[in-house]
Amino acid sequence: MSVSGSASPVAALAGAASPVAALADGRLAGGAWGDAAVKFGNTFGAVAGFLGILLVVFLVAGRARGRLARPLAVGVFLGPAVLLLAVGLVVPLVRTVYLSLQNDDGSRFVGGENFGWALTTDSVQEVLLNTLLWLVVAPLVATGLGLVLALLVDRMRGQAVYKSLIFMPMAISLVGASIIFKFVYESRGPGQPQIGLLSRLAVAVGWDDPPNWLLSQPLNTFLLMAVLVWVQTGFAMVVLSAAIKAIPDEVVEAARLDGASGLRLFWYVTVPMIRTTVMVVLTTVMIITLKAFDIVRTMTGGNFGTQVLANEMYSQSFVQFNTGRGSALAVILFLAVLPLVAYNIVQLRKEREVR
């Protein structure tokens, strides 16, 4: 099948490259390269096996004719996806709700106790408050900056370069981005040379003994948000820029004939025309903000008053093994995300109908 043509050479190449490299560098770390060859072999085998099985199933099922042909096709095409969704999402969804109503080792039904714990415990209240702060600040800043950039960058010479560079962080993992910014925020004691950019800038403007940024509350929460803003601004810019370019000429022309220009044109024509897109971008960044736990986990581990819901959920579930509480936090996260996603989906539907 044609997909195998695009997928397997990658794996095959990787599998073939490592033994060669193993010879070249055998002295340094022979074991590691050997391991790599085995792992790539397994991976390639899995992909090839997967595609091979599918091909055989296709060939066999494709021979069916008559009344059985259609149900068989539906079963083969749809079966795997439905099974994966049922086992991977639907059943777990129900189970997590069920687990959230039980105590932490799952031995006793406790009703809403875990939710009561989440809403009344001081430490968790702080977490919820932080999450709310993230939810308001980070998406607004990212979308706002993205909108301004989208408006400004289009007329510039070499705009592709600017756009690409601002968009680039989107490709970097949140873990990678966190390490990049941890280095920017690196702080050292007085007398030592500052190697973190932020500390150095602070010294440059006359702040001789800048604080340890990631330990200073509540500033540190905003410094963590900066990482998300750094990643998401490019996304907002690209999507909004496309929306601005798509405003019909007649609209702008008519507004101009009516004497609108400059800021008024922006405020009364551009903004209303792209309002839907702005909202979709905003809610999308909000959803990402709610679910992202990587930044907090990598930069502070949730300490120093920076904890957020997604990371607390992970800690409760997989570090402290408080299954009931972890599940309750997951349900809260779900309920928080739900209206945002629902809004986005409704918007998508509307736009589709407009077409």
Binding site: M1, W33, A73, A160
Partner: protein
């Protein structure tokens, strides 16, 4: 957003920044010349932009670009400097007195840092070994499902599509604990074993499976949008010729869907490569299966002051997505505008 429609995927003139014109929610571009070349007239959309194009605007954009680029540059420069330089002066001084080498990369790949028994090499291998199958599996299975839902009509197909569509709202956090238990302990109904416990420790299978499951709703939805728009005549002609659904899928649907498949593949690859949550939950932290992101998150704590190593490691982990991003930016943007943002 529906830019995955066949007609809105321009193969010819795509603007240099890779954003396909017209690939925008809801609206289409009507022929416009207005990419206002340097000094040239500014198309019809000009007035809006003109108001914002002043020297001040340019300064702002350039400043933002520099600000957005500097952190990554700092990472790259630091990763190339010798240890004693990194601790004794800021990375920006190296721009004037360059003394670069690849020593840190050798250390971090093969020797590990303080307290680390192995280098990053196994983790880098794991990242690749996780990402490729976790992209291929959902891509193929979702394309199959999308085809069935779009072209093999059957009773209840609308209900199935809507359910898949609605499942996009479920954050994967909701599925982690039960799924982990399923992988570890199997599934039982009373004393009846539905799915036996399988020992998958030290294997990539749970991570592949989890990524495949979580990718399904978005993948089916996006590919369905595209596949449903394929020309009906073509499908009907194939049926008349006696082609089975399997034949049609292989020889018509897959080749024609290549742009949509490419968009999703890039998205899924970047998503899996950059993922921490799923890997952390289903792979643990061992060199046998854990990917780069998991290891880096660990090192970020334990390698504290060893910035020359941490920066080299981080750069190794971001170089692959950056290459993918810069070489395939066009498809990436296309997928983005089609709504492939998941979390």
């Amino acid at each position: 957003m529906t830019s995955l429609r066949k007609d809105s995927v321009p193969e010819g003139p795509v603007p240099e920044d890779g954003v396909p014109e017209g690939a925008v929610p809801g609206r289409r571009v009507r022929g416009r010349g207005g990419r206002g070349g340097p000094g040239g007239p500014a198309g019809v959309g000009g007035p809006v932009r003109k108001a914002f194009s002043s020297p001040l605007a340019s300064v702002f954009v350039i400043a933002m670009t520099v600000l957005w680029t500097i952190p990554t540059l700092g990472l790259l420069v630091t990763s190339l400097r010798p240890k004693q330089d990194v601790t004794s002066s800021g990375w920006w001084t190296a721009l004037l007195h360059p003394d670069f080498g690849l020593g840190n990369y050798r250390s971090v790949l093969f020797e590990g840092g303080s307290g680390a028994s192995t280098g990053l090499l196994p983790f880098l291998v794991n990242s690749l070994a996780i990402s490729v199958p976790a992209t291929v599996f959902p891509l193929v299975l979702a394309a199959m499902a999308a085809y069935a839902l779009a072209w093999v009509r059957f009773r209840g197909s609308d209900a199935v599509f809507f359910t898949v569509f609605a499942l996009q709202v479920v954050p994967l956090q909701m599925a982690l604990i039960p799924l982990l238990r399923l992988f570890a302990g199997g599934a039982h109904l009373g004393s009846l074993t539905l799915i036996p416990a399988v020992d998958l420790k030290g294997s990539y299978a749970p991570v592949w499976l989890a990524h495949t499951m979580f990718a399904m709703p978005l993948a089916v939805f996006l590919l369905h949008n595209f596949i449903a728009q394929l020309p009906r005549d073509l499908m009907e002609a194939a049926v008349v010729d006696g082609a089975s659904h399997f034949k049609i899928f292989r020889s018509i649907v897959l080749p024609l869907s290549a742009p949509a498949l490419a968009s999703f593949a890039i998205f899924q690859f970047l998503w899996v490569w950059n993922d921490l949550l799923v890997a952390l939950t289903f792979a643990g932290g061992t060199p046998e299966v854990a990917p780069m992101t998991v290891r880096l998150a660990q090192l970020s704590g334990s390698l504290g002051g060893r910035w020359e190593l941490l920066t080299a490691g981080a750069f190794l982990s971001i170089i692959v997505p950056l290459i993918v991003f810069f070489s395939l930016q066009r498809y990436f943007v296309r997928g983005l505008l089609a709504g492939s943002v998941k979390g």
